[in-house]
Amino acid sequence: MNRRLRRELSRAVRTPFGSEITGNMNQSLASKVLFRSIRLNTGFAFALPCLLLLLLVLGLPAIMAVANSFTPIWSEVKTFTLDNYTKLLQDKTFWESLQVTIIFVAYTVMLHLALGLVVALALNADIRGIWLFRIIAILPWTIPDVISGLVWRFMYDPTAGIINYFLDRLGVQNPYIEWLAHPRLALPSVILADVWRGYPFVMLILLAGLQAIPKELYEAARVDGASVLQEFRHITVPGLVRMVQVALALDVIWQFRRFGLVYNMTQGGPGNATDILPLAIYRQYFKYFNFEYASAMAVVLAAIMIVISIPYVRMMVKRT
């Protein structure tokens, strides 16, 4: 028995439970340790059902997807093969999709952060009715991905969309700008739609961070004659660093998984201009029935997201 367990047991003897333990000295030591462990790990026990459910709903399909990438699990003939990964390395369209995905994620996350920070700073003001503005600011996030994609597709329509309508009224020479059909405009247009829809998530995290910064620091800074910019640089930014890290990590993971909005707007076109990896995986699996190849693509995407999330997980573990 190690020192820690011995210490725990001696402590247990002095507790209300412990009196029961001493009263049952004939119980085996293992059951006493278990008894104590359960009491000590109450929090873990509360989380256990949820953990089991997550393992079942998320973990099991993930394991099956990994297995499927090496061997066709739905087939009667099962042979282990690396062919899918070899094919992936040589597949030009896969690497193009990965490139588009990285560009999409980089721009959307940056813009979510920038816009989220600006709006969070504005919503941190202590004015009457601020709650109404906070509700309005969150509204884009409440709209489902798919609906946002549809709405923006209609807005971007070259002949009937509202954006071109206003540009035409402003006298823009070419009234039929092909926002989603032009290879150079399609990805920025999709990014803009996603930024509109996704910034509230980051904004909420940053707003929470701003609200946690003590107001006395700002008062003290003002007394010392600090300008607004200096307050921002020396108080707000350091106070928000942790929250920015959390927001960035979560947002990057979310953006790598983005699907519904892009699918409804462009289906990955024109050509491969907006063909992000989740779309490519969906097509391989559900349209072409290349189940094993799609699983290999999904495993690669998951590996990328795991690598990205390592700093976030380390930060959370360090905190606890």
Binding site: I38, P158, T159, E178, W179, L180, A181, G269, P270, K287
Partner: protein
Amino acid sequence: MKKFVFLLVVGSLLMTTAGCQAPTPAATQPPPATQAPAAPPTVAPTKAPQVVTLRVSNWHLAEKHWEKTIKDAIPIFEKENPDIKVNLEVISYAEKEAKYATEIQAGAGPDLIHLAGYSIRNFVESGYLYDITPFIQKEPVGFLDQWYPHLVELFKYQGKQYGLPSDYMAMILAYDKKLFTEAGLDPNKPPKTWDEFLDYAKKMTRDRKGSGKTDTWGFGTVGTIDPGWELRFSPVLLSHGAAYLTPDNKCSALNTPEAKEAFKFWVGLVTDAKVVPPGVTSQGAGAVRTQFANELIAMKIGSGWTAPIIPTINKDFNIQENLGAAPMPVKAGKTLAKTTTAWYSGWMITKNTKYPEQAWRLLKWLTSKESDQRWFDGARVLSSRRDVSGDPDKGIKAYQPILDDKFSQVIQAELKNAQINPQLKEWPQIADTVNKEVQNAFTGSKSADAALKDAYDQINKILAPYRKAGETCPAY
């Protein structure tokens, strides 16, 4: 307090696992029988047949004008078959493959599904469908002769039959007679060649509403990544004498002069002639129908669904007076066996069905002569049955309402010129590959020639498993 917390934790754990436990024998004991009163003497009642419920999924239920026809028909079947109840399930056209594949894989698929030609081969070869060969063998001799033989073959795999054909139509040119007249063209003389087509399209691309910019275009088409895309591009390819694949399906055939000419012509409609509305690469079939219904485009490639759908979008569109139908234009000077592509669909029983015999009875009814005639009456969709759509070679006349309908009679007449798409499970991937390269050419990302070459090379890679070791495809 700690004791309370401990008991609470243990209790909640037990409650969450309680639902997973198998019921104990005591829990399943029937309640004690009560003594029934003495019944008066009567003739022993016949045993009521067990009523089974069949789940039937069909994308047609998502469109009002089709939904009504189906919902009106099902009670007729249920009356004739009181032991079967039918539950209709809506599904979107774009997502049916994904949903069916997931559900069937999970053992929760519907009893019957309706699929379009684009993905039939995938399902037939995937093991998702129920083998109906034993049922067919019990039918009278010549049972399958009721349908066009080449369509029945589409549902066969390794000697077994996995479905029956349903809809069958040819893609044709639909045009707005009013816009023809306004542009000074004779609405009774639609274009017969692609040169005429281009000429007409240019004349009808103009500032019609006095807006100071082009607001009407000569032609509209599907350009987004969509199963319906290949129904619009294939007729152009075929009517130039080209094809997607070689006859043995081992290589792409997009390297022929005819294919290059067809591809360049198609791309030129957007890049050079500009007779197509802007944003074509993001337009699906719904958008094109809306443009046609609102008189933004004068011509489109469509089929039987065009006539009933257009008035639902714009009730002021007078289809009797203004909707014209014509065979697909052809390359001038060419005589070709096939000048357009066929649209077809089929009904299949899934392997999940618990009631195969009842599902077979419903499948037979859904593909019967009376059902297909009813389907045409309500939805203007032609049938894969010879005794409905006609077979002049066998002296079988078409259903008279088809021949009386101006739009449908063109579709019916074109069936003999309609080509079925290549029957490979890789077909969706091949179609999407060409579609993406067409998009690249439309947008100017690649020249028409470079785009076609890339399509050719990618298709050859997709077809590599069909070639023996050492077998190669010719250079582009």
